[in-house]
């Protein structure tokens, strides 16, 4: 293919991406941009050209060893829910925009640490980017059938112009906002798009090779199994490769969190935490699908093309070999997509790191303070733009001078091992609050030295000079110092070997120096905040420990330099409102200091913002003893608060109980009043009758007709009886409720008692012509107070008579034996008890409003007394609910 046409296609493709990014940037709130699928696809930036081409190369040369690099992320994905969410929360809270900010903030916003991490990331990533450029360049050459001007100098090299185009793309969409912690929707949307393309195109070529060039997987397998070293390619052939696998999986597990580009997409560009839920299964699925055809393309290439060509480009060479240029073009574009997303995201992340952790804190701060906010924003953006270009140019130069001869896979792994040096400080620091900046710095430096000695140095030496004495004989000829077999370990492959030793030394140094150095209070503050992110909400703006003084006006001045008047005012207003602080407050407190640092972190990075704010704060050094004391106090306060809260809950509970008791007492008191009122009324009524009749009898003695006189005398007698009965009942009721020994329990025959009761009431019933039936004639002995039970029975029968209509009335007395008690029933066919009365009929003086007679003859205490009597026998009295006709009273007396 003509390479101008190819360049034209590349530019057209870039324009498509540009258009997508522009669209997404404009509709940054749209559902199309903010969804878990775009998030997951953006994570697929993990699959770079290395995945696209490198995997096939490894599969062809060393079998399934390409897999562990993807197994690590697959294992890590479920843990994201816990780990990545914690990292996200912390990052959002502190407006953290890069992994360098994240780690350096954890260790007290240490400027040197931020710079160190940035340098590590640069060392680890630039060769990696150069590798991508190499892939573009080599595939370009393949596509143009060897007509690409690769080695004719920079200005003639198409790769150079492609690199510049990528830099422009990254610059345009990466520096829209001064605040680097803002999301880059445009770039993410284009990355997601590219992730789809690279997957689809790779699948197409996989299917093409497997099912078109060959007769499916079995065919390829059968053919490849005839080759000589087949066994070695498809199995774990030794303990060594087992270890290799284990450590490579571990390495990729760490790297998925640590790679600057992965931190950028997974943490910074995440718009909603809940997107994680989809990503944890969708992302592993993506990786799985991606790796589906790797082995078949590799085998297919091996079978058709043999070992004469670079196996990494089988996927491109196979269709070309078979005359299918269009398919090859698709593969090329897929690979190009993988390159673009990796390069753009990596340079974006790195440029933020470089500007925030290297350039601004080491030189530009003074200049910023003297300048205008608009100019500052312009400076900051420009620093980042220049960084992006510089990084890409550096990567290009690295490619020109070093990477030409190196394979994608080896450089990829070296990059991983370098970046992995951040792992101890990152992972352990999240959960161990003792980890200190001194430990981190020493650990990382030692780790890098070990990596350099065991991997970078021998590798570059061999690749560039062909000098092998160093690796075969060791430093100064000492065998124990052989870089690939340090201390005699010979079972690991070089990158894994380097990973093992560097990680060991790094972690040990980190632990030892963290334990021996205590770190200053600032470090301890951030350590607490990062480790204890459960209490995040309460910690967010409050530094745990801070001592010093600052004026709000000074802090505001600094903020204005970077955010401008309006944004500063808005932010401060929000802050004052949130904590209910009057907005004319003069002195700043720890919360404001922290808040302001966070505001600035987005623009100029954590280290710089710390320095700037510290410039206007008169901070007093606090000794560790003081820090511990304050921490202890705050813990005590928390404990005390907890106790107070418990007490307060108890009090609320008690108040509630008291209120209930009080309500009950009030109710009882009211009941007592009502009782007395009713007693008084009941006593007064007969007295009134007696008094009035007597008065008339005395005054009208002569004139009163004798039959009236007789009637009045009879009334007086009746009223006197009523009075006596009432008094007896009241006394009885009183005794029943107070005197325990009042009941005289003995053995009696139930039948006899029932007969007595019926006998007593027979004549009254007869007067109203009401039938009284004794249903159960069975004899049974039971212990009870016969007088009292008789009283209950006559009361119930009396009531029944009262409420029955004359002549038609029928009352049935019955009993039956239960397991533990005898149940008695008095049934009538009267008008029944109204529903609203049923719950109250056993109350004192409660008389139904719907009685048959105008004024019931009785004290109103009958049922109340009956209830007392039955309860004295440990029994129960009730009225059946829901009876259709009449009333059924029941009571039961237990066997003793």
């Amino acid at each position: 293919m003509n390479n101008y046409i190819l360049l034209g296609i590349i530019i057209a493709y870039l324009l498509v991406l540009f258009f997508i990014a522009l669209k997404a940037e404009k509709n940054s709130k749209s559902k199309w941009v903010n969804n878990p699928y775009v998030y997951t696809l953006s994570l697929a930036v993990y699959c770079s050209a290395w995945t696209y081409y490198g995997s096939v190369g490894i599969a062809a040369n060393s079998g399934i060893n390409f897999l562990p690099i993807y197994l690590g992320p697959v294992i890590a994905a479920p843990l994201w829910i816990v780990l990545l969410r914690k990292i996200m929360r912390i990052s959002k809270q502190h407006k953290i925009s890069t992994i360098a900010d994240f780690i350096s903030l954890r260790y007290g916003n240490n400027r040197f640490l931020g710079a160190l991490i940035t340098i590590i990331c640069l060392i680890g990533t630039i060769p990696y980017i150069s590798l991508q450029l190499k892939a573009v360049s080599e595939t370009f050459e393949i596509m143009s059938f060897g007509n690409g001007y690769i080695s004719n100098g920079i200005w003639d090299d198409s790769t150079f112009y492609i690199a510049v185009l990528l830099a422009i793309f990254a610059t345009f969409f990466g520096t829209q906002s001064t605040d680097a912690s803002e999301k880059h929707r445009g770039i993410i949307a284009s990355v997601a798009f590219e992730s789809i393309l690279k997957l689809v195109f790779f699948l197409i070529i996989g299917i093409y090779v497997t099912f078109y060039l060959f007769d499916g997987t079995t065919d390829i397998y059968n053919q490849i199994s005839l080759t000589e070293n087949f066994e070695q390619l498809t199995t774990f052939n030794s303990l060594e490769s087992g270890f290799d696998w284990f450590f490579t999986i571990m390495l990729s597990f760490m790297i998925i969190f640590l790679l600057p580009r992965m931190f950028q997409v997974s943490v910074l560009e995440n718009s909603r935490e809940k997107h994680l839920k989809k990503a944890i299964w969708l992302f592993p699925l993506y990786l799985l699908i991606f790796n589906l055809f790797v082995i078949y393309i590799a085998w297919g290439g091996k079978i058709s093309l043999g070992d004469t060509v670079n196996a990494e480009y089988f996927s491109l060479l196979l269709p070309l070999e078979n005359g299918n240029t269009f398919l090859a073009l698709l593969v090329f574009l897929g690979g190009f997509s993988a390159v673009i997303s990796m390069v753009v995201i990596s340079t974006l992340a790195l440029s933020t790191m470089v500007s925030n952790n290297l350039i601004i804190p080491y030189g530009f701060l003074g200049k910023f303070l003297e300048s205008h906010p608009e100019r500052n924003a312009y400076y900051i953006k420009n620093i980042r733009r220049i960084s992006i270009f510089t990084i890409i140019i550096f990567a290009y130069l690295f490619y020109i001078f070093f990477s030409m001869e190196l394979s994608l896979f080896s450089i990829g792994l070296i990059s991983f091992v370098i970046i992995a040096q951040l792992a101890p400080s990152f992972f352990i620091g999240l959960f161990w609050n003792r980890g200190s900046s001194k430990g981190v710095i020493i650990g990382i430096i030692v780790g890098i030295i070990v990596t350099t000695y065991t991997l970078i140095l021998p590798f570059t030496m061999e690749a560039l000079t062909g000098y092998t004495d160093f690796t075969t004989k060791g430093l100064f000829g000492i065998a124990l110092l052989k870089p690939y077999h340090l201390f005699g370990i010979e079972i690991l492959s070089p990158p894994v070997h380097a990973f093992f030793w560097s990680m060991l030394f790094n972690t040990l140094c980190y632990l030892i120096f963290s334990l021996t150095s205590k770190g200053n209070y600032r470090e301890r503050n951030y350590a607490e905040m990062f480790v204890d992110s459960r209490n995040y909400a309460t910690l967010q703006d409050s530094a745990l420990v801070w001592k010093g003084e600052a004026y709000v006006a000074d802090i505001k001045n600094v903020l204005v330099k970077f955010l401008g008047e309006t944004r500063t005012k808005r932010a401060l207003d929000l802050f004052f409102k949130k904590y209910n602080i009057p907005s004319d407050t003069q002195m700043a407190d720890a919360r404001l200091i922290n808040f302001s640092e966070k505001l600035l972190t987005g623009s100029i990075g954590g280290a710089s913002s710390k320095i700037l704010i510290a410039g206007v704060v008169k901070e007093e050094e606090i000794s560790l003893v003081e820090v511990l004391k304050i921490l202890e106090e705050s813990k005590e306060t928390i404990n005390r608060n907890k106790i107070l809260r418990e007490k307060s809950n108890e009090l609320t509970e008690m108040t509630f109980q008291l209120k209930e008791v009080n309500d009950e007492l009030l109710f009882k008191d009211k009941q007592k009043d009502e009782f007395l009122d009713t007693v008084a009324h009941e006593l007064k009524t007969p007295i009134t009758g007696i008094r009035a009749a007597t008065e008339l009898l005395m005054d009208e003695d002569g004139e009163m007709p004798s039959e009236i006189k007789a009637q009045f005398l009879k009334n007086i007698l009746q009223d006197s009886d009523r009075l006596a009965r009432l008094i007896n009942n009241i006394l009885e009721f009183e005794k029943l409720s107070t005197d325990r020994a009042y009941i005289n329990i003995q053995k009696h025959n139930i039948q006899k008692t029932l007969k007595k009761a019926i006998g007593n009431m027979q004549h009254i019933a007869a007067k109203k012509q009401i039938t009284l039936v004794n249903k159960n004639q069975f004899h049974f002995d039971l212990t009870y107070d016969e007088d009292k039970i008789l009283q209950v029975l006559t009361n119930l029968i009396g009531n029944a008579i009262k409420f029955c209509e004359p002549q038609k009335g029928k009352i049935t007395v019955d009993f039956k034996l239960g397991n533990k008690a005898v149940e008695f029933y008095v049934k009538d066919n009267g008008k029944g008890i109204p529903k609203e009365d049923i719950d109250y009929i056993f109350d004192k003086f409660y008389q139904s409003k719907n009685q048959n007679t105008i004024k019931p003859i009785g004290s109103g205490l009958g049922l109340a007394i009956s209830k007392q009597i039955i309860e004295k026998h440990n029994g129960k009295i009730w009225v059946e609910k829901g009876t259709k006709v009449g009333t059924i009273f029941g009571f039961k007396l237990p066997f003793y």
Binding site: D677, A680, H681, K684, T685, P686, I687, T688, G689, R691, A692, A693, E695, L696, D699, E700, I708, Q711, F712, N715, Q718, D719, Q847, K849, N850, Q851, I854, K855
Partner: protein, 121 residues
Amino acid sequence: MRKKILLVDDEPNIVMTLEYAFKKQDYEVFIARDGSEALEIVNTSVPDVVLLDIMMPNVDGYQTLKHIKSKANLKNTKIVFLTAKNKSSDIEKGLQLGADKYLTKPFSVKKIVSEINDLLK
């Protein structure tokens, strides 16, 4: 014209004494054993005074008073409570509802008669 009195009380023994006393004073006496009976009676005849007990079954004295007060043709009818409820709060309530007098039990028949006579002068 003979004065008409309506006695409303559920205690027959008490009503009997009042009936006797007022008849002797040449009153035309009507008797109701509760509020509902009283309301039936005032439908047909208009008493000059109603002597009303409060604690009665079915319709009590308060309700009866309200009913009587709501009738236009009974606006000249005096209403006197005669009840065992003698707490000052009860008396206040009775008078507030619009009773012309509040008399308590037990009572002197003579006094009741003279109070009613005074009221109707």
